[in-house]
Structures are given as C-alpha cells and as structure tokens.
Amino acid sequence: MTIHLKPRRLTGVVAIACGALLMSASALAEVAVVVNPGSGVSSISAGDAKKLFLGKMKSLPGGPKAAVVEQASGGARDAFNGGVLKKNDSQLKAYWSKMIFSGKGSPPKQVADDAAVKAFVTSTPGAIGYMDSGSVDGSVTVVLTVP
C-alpha cells in the first residue's frame, strides 16, 4: 500500500520533531542501582548492570527475568549513563537508534524520577532501576552504588 505526499511536507514534519526534543539537565550525584527485594539478588557488578541496561542481559545475575527501568532525564540518569554505561546522551541515543531501527531491540522503560523508579521496582518482580542514593528506603534493595 502506498501514499504519495508532497516533498515540502517533510520540512514541517522535521520541524515538529525538533519541537518535541527534550533538554537534559546534568548534575553530579551518587546513584544507587536498586532491585525488587523479592528477586533475591544482593549485588551485581557494574559490567552486568551495563549489559542489563543495554539489553545484552535478560535476567538478573542468579535471579529472575529482568524488567529494566531508566529515568528520562536528570542528574541520576547522567551519572548512571556516564559511570556505568560509559556513554553520553548522544552516544546512547545513537546506540538505541541502531538497535531500534534495525529491529534488534528497544530501550528500557522510561519513567520521570526517583519516585517513579521506586514505584515500578517495588511493584514489579525482577525490576531493576537506579535513583539518587538519597531516595533509597527499605522498599528496594541496593545492589550497586555509582559514585
């Protein structure tokens, strides 16, 4: 099935897409990688965390299938991406662009902030996410700390 459209319309489409772009804030923070306490996992390495958040590992080490959640923006995201994934925002976007648009994977579920990560992790078996260490409480298990 095909549809024919005038070329000048692409300019408008791009303009709309550009308008939807988000600015990312950057700040330094100590970040805690947390899991659902029911997973039975007490610690993971930075290497395994990297694999989980890049879609290269499907299960928590020695634990259940992983449900990965990341933050859409903010200092915790910047610290985690730089400290664990070793990628800046553009590099991570390029990585997921290659995975998505070649049909090989999709990025983790995104939520807005620490509270949303905590809500997801506490309610989802196998969940893993990250948050500012100051937001951690007894409802989640810290398995890795990123300075």
Binding site: L10, A17, K98
Partner: protein
C-alpha cells in the same frame, strides 16, 4: 504534512490496536508498557554541477545541478512485545522519490526467542549485509548524509548490488556476550523482490564481533538466483532478462571504530552475477573522523569499479556533523567525484570531474 501525520498515525494506531487485540488474547493484562513507538526523519538537500543524475536514473531522478531532496526520509518504528519470548517489529518508511514520498512497510517481522540469545525471525527483514545497512535510512546513526552509495546504493542497474533493502524469509540470530565482547551470527534465507528483478533462493550469513560498542568487525557472504528480470530496452533501459537464472553472489567485509573520539569506517564488497561482466563490482570506502565535543569533521574516500575497470569512479568527501541536541544532528558535505571510465554512479556519462554539496538535518524521536 497534516495528511502525512494523519495517515501515519492511522497506520500506527491500526497496527497498535491489532497488537493490542493479540496481546489481550495472549496475555490478559497491562499491555501499554510493551509497545514502543519510535521514529526518525532526515531532511536532505544535495546538488552537483552535473546535468546527469547522480545515484538515480532518467525515470526516477537523482541529484543533479538543479538540486534535489534525494536521501530525505521519514520513518516510524513500532516494537510490540507480545509476551516474553515473542516480539513484533515493524517500520513504516517514506522516502523521497522523484517528487513524492512513498510510504510503505519497510520491514515487519516476528522474533521468537528460542533459548536465551538465540532468535528465530520471520517476515520481511532488513538485509544484514553492510555495517550500517540495517539502519541505512537512519542518517542520525552515522556520520554521513547518506550511507556511502558506492557500496550501499541499491539502484538498478547502476548501483553495486552489494546489499539489498530487505528480504522476505527467515533468520536465525545468535548473540553471545563475553565481558565487553559481543559475538553475533545471523544466518538468513529467503528472497528479495525488486521492481525490475528478483533474487530467489537467497541464503547467507553475517558475523559480527563487537568490543564495547567501540570496535566492530563484520563480514557477510550470500548467494541467490536472479529471476524475473525485465527487458527495459524499449524505454532506453537495460535488458535485464540476461540476469535470469544467473547466480548472484556477494562478499562484504567491514570495520567500524568509535574510540576515544576517533571515528573510523572501512568496508569492501565483491559482487558477481554469474558470467555477466557488467555486473561484476568491486567497491570500497573508508572514513576517518575526529569528534571534538559536538562536532565531528570527517574525510571519506570511495572507490567504485564495475565490469573489470570499464566503469571507474571515486569520491573524496569532506563532511561535518554537529549534534545540536541528543536527538538532532545537522550535517554538511562536499565531494569531488572523478569518473575516469564510464558513468560510475551517474545515470549518464558526466562531462568531467564533478562536485556534490549536501546539507541535512537528522532527527530521531
């Protein structure tokens, strides 16, 4: 634009609703987290100092001295996780073609995870030959305005035919992770349908070794049988019936490095179509760039050789990419094109050395 948006939205929503229905049957529960919609757009303007079309034909157009939006595209991608083991991937693509955008299903397939990291894929699947071919339409994902046409052009008959857009069939995809290394093997079989010819009985394999997403080595081999070639000689085109029943073989190998701000690509392809001298192509390119913050200046060289030297062409390209935002890049390029013999990737013989200038805005969302 509004018409395009309405149409695309209707297609995506329709597909989404279908998947929702499937999901409801397969797994009654919350499905909203399992459907991801992404997209990309590239607005490209290119111009040469030649009247002959570059990367095109008299019928389909291309880049010439009047300027062209050739290379512009808009894509929408939908990933739907049906359950833990089954995922559906599809992509709608609208590409600049002459003076229209032709929106179509670029690829769509179902992926079954047989065991951990071993996948069976079936449907219309992106052709996995060439380092960037699986995302060749997503210009944001690489340094250039378009992927190097000396290797990636699928134009018939002027292109190298080293790679294809997509094939209909099945693939066995295996990933293995060792520390920071990823080994990937993709065995595929099926057929490729084109407007003027088909590739039947296609089988092939692609092998990748990746280190930390910073160094990638990749090689592919495939073969198929040409079929249904059309005789276009009545309209000034080639007689492609001579291809019918000819074995079509390709070997493509390449490397990509993105390490410590150094960006490097190199790829080569060797393509045969039976004993057809004019369809024997050897082509390669290399790119070297250095990232300076959000800027990426780069220099490329492409060499195209068809029919044992009867068609020779090379491109020297100076390019610049600037990442405006994490989702948006702008690019500038200037190429010198030398065509010592034949037409190369021009539709007709150029008058001499040619120059190509280009500008692009790339977005992913």
């Amino acid at each position: 634009m509004a018409k395009l948006c309405r149409y695309v939205l209707a297609r995506v929503v329709g597909l989404g609703l279908g998947l929702v229905a499937m999901n409801t049957v397969v797994q009654a529960g919350d499905w909203s987290d399992d459907i991801v919609v992404s997209g990309f757009a590239s607005a490209v303007y290119q111009r040469t100092n030649e009247a002959a079309y570059l990367y095109g034909s008299a019928d389909e157009g291309g880049i010439d001295n009047k300027g062209s939006f050739y290379g512009s595209s808009l894509g929408l991608n939908l990933t739907a996780r049906i359950n833990y083991d089954v995922t559906l991937f599809t992509q709608l693509l609208g590409e600049y073609n002459e003076d229209d955008y032709n929106l179509h299903v670029d690829w769509a397939f179902v992926r079954f995870e047989l065991i951990d990291d071993l996948f069976l894929r079936a449907g219309k699947i992106k052709f996995p030959v060439g380092v960037v071919n699986e995302y060749a339409d997503v210009s944001y994902a690489y340094p250039w305005i378009t992927s190097p046409n000396s290797l990636y052009s699928t134009q018939v008959p002027i292109g190298p035919q080293a790679t294809r857009n997509a094939y209909s069939g099945a693939s066995l995809l295996w990933n293995h992770y060792i520390d920071d290394f990823t080994l990937e093997a993709d065995l595929f079989a099926g057929e490729v349908k084109m407007e003027v010819a088909d590739v039947r009985e296609l089988i092939g394999g692609t092998f990748r070794l990746d280190w930390n997403e910073q160094v990638l080595l990749q090689t592919s081999a495939y073969q198929g049988t040409m079929a249904n070639g059309l005789d276009l000689s009545g309209s000034g085109g080639p007689d492609m019936t001579v291809m019918n029943d000819k074995p079509h073989r390709g070997l493509v190998a390449g490397a990509k490095v993105d390490w410590n701000d150094v960006v490097f690509y190199a790829e080569a392809a060797d393509v045969k179509m039976g004993d057809l001298t004019n369809m024997r192509v050897r082509t390669w390119y290399t790119t070297l760039g250095y990232r300076i913050g959000k800027w990426l200046p780069h220099l490329s060289y492409e060499d195209f050789d068809r029919a044992y030297g009867a068609q020779r062409q090379n491109f020297t390209t100076l390019g610049l990419r600037y990442d405006i935002k994490r989702n948006t890049a702008i690019k500038l390029e200037l190429s010198q094109i030398k065509t010592p013999k034949g037409n190369g990737l021009f539709a007709t013989k150029p008058s001499g050395d040619a120059y190509r200038g280009g500008f692009a805005i790339d977005v992913v969302f």
